[in-house]
């Protein structure tokens, strides 16, 4: 998974989202150690201080925790990860619904498009 950063929003906020995504997608599984600040900063080609700020916020939220000597780990609280996953899903759907509304679609139409497409894709 590559790091996609847009130019018009704070970088640290986008880093938080992308790390949340990696945790929810299981790229960083519960209880696993995540790479160091320096490695992550290099991977995402961002400033190490910005990456540090993002990780500190995730720690504050409880999704990550740190061991003084051995590094930073993903929480083992799977319930919390599940909640984060739901939060991310809601955000995606909100963006999608907003776009569909801008295109002039009604709720019913949107649902039928989704169910048609979902059937096609799941086959």
């Amino acid at each position: 998974m590559g790091w996609e950063l847009k130019t018009d929003r704070p970088i640290y906020a986008q880093l938080i989202e992308q790390i949340e995504l990696r945790i929810c997608a299981g790229i960083y599984p519960p209880g696993s150690r995540i790479p160091s600040v320096r490695d992550l900063a290099q991977e995402a080609s961002v400033n190490p201080n910005t990456m540090q700020r993002a990780l500190a916020k995730l720690e504050e939220d409880g999704l990550l925790y740190s061991h003084r000597t051995s590094g930073r780990f993903v929480t083992e609280d799977t319930e919390m990860i599940r909640k984060t996953r739901n939060k991310l899903a809601k955000e995606q759907v909100q963006v999608f619904l907003k776009k569909m509304k801008d295109l002039g679609f009604e709720y019913g139409e949107i649902l039928s498009i989704i169910s048609d497409l979902a059937e096609e894709m799941m086959e």
């Binding site: 950063l5 130019t7 018009d8 929003r9 704070p10 970088i11 640290y12 906020a13 320096r38 900063a41 290099q42 995402a44 080609s45 961002v46 400033n47 190490p48 201080n49 910005t50």
Partner: protein
């Protein structure tokens, strides 16, 4: 914030021209700072004063407490905007020269970077292209374990792939005791790497903020804000 670089009312006049006009500025350690401004805004003048190549007309400047001079040069690694290397030398000669000259020079680091960028140590500088010479200069500068790196237009002449490598090198080299100041026009390439941004216009500091402050407050990238502030 500790004060690695401190200027108070710093000015430099060239006859009637105010190249730097009453600049007051503090930069701490552990920062990567973009010094951004259009041509002839005073960026190079500022860096030259930091390196004792120009003397201020008025005001004060201190680097880790020292006035620019012998002591400050021990801890400042400077990439000038032009090529100053002797053409007849081999890349390996110039590395030995730097190794001899600077106590904080790390020879292994230099050879490692040469390798990564596919530059042959036995080549003479006069046989190298303009872009390759620029890479060699940057390697020399980044191979010192300095406290302050002053890079005047470090990525202007090199290709995008080398540019990525250079930015990666800056990130990899990052440590909380050192600060890097980069002057450039190529803002979109480097803004993700910066902590702080300084806009300089006609010798005056018009903005000094963090990249995320700018994005939060304006909803714009540093690049778009620059285009707005300096619209011609």
């Amino acid at each position: 914030m500790n004060k690695l670089l401190e200027c108070k009312n710093l000015s430099k006049y060239f006859g009637p021209v105010r190249a730097l006009d009453n600049v007051t500025l503090t930069i701490g350690s552990g920062r990567i700072v973009g010094l951004l401004g259009p041509n002839a805004s005073g960026k190079s003048t500022f860096m030259k004063i930091c390196n004792d190549l120009l003397t201020p007309s008025s005001g004060e400047i201190r680097i880790a407490g020292f006035e620019p001079g012998v002591e400050s040069k021990k801890i400042v690694s400077y990439l000038p905007e032009r090529n100053y290397l002797n053409d007849w030398m081999k890349v390996s000669d110039i590395i030995s020269f730097f190794d001899d000259f600077y106590a904080d020079f790390n020879k292994e680091k230099a050879y490692d970077m040469l390798n990564k960028l596919n530059i042959q140590a036995e080549d003479r500088l006069k046989t190298l292209s303009k872009g390759t010479k620029e890479k060699v200069q940057l390697i020399l500068v980044m191979s010192r374990d300095a406290q302050l790196y002053l890079l005047d237009e470090p990525i202007g002449g090199v290709d995008p792939a080398a540019r990525d490598y250079i930015l990666e090198t800056i990130i990899r080299n990052y440590n909380e005791n050192a600060t890097v100041i980069i002057s450039t026009h190529l803002i979109s390439d480097i803004e993700k790497v910066l902590d702080d941004v300084i806009f300089i216009k006609e010798g005056q500091i018009v903005l000094h903020k963090t990249v995320d402050e700018i994005r939060e407050e304006t909803g714009k990238s540093v690049d778009s804000l620059f285009r707005e502030v300096f619209r011609c």
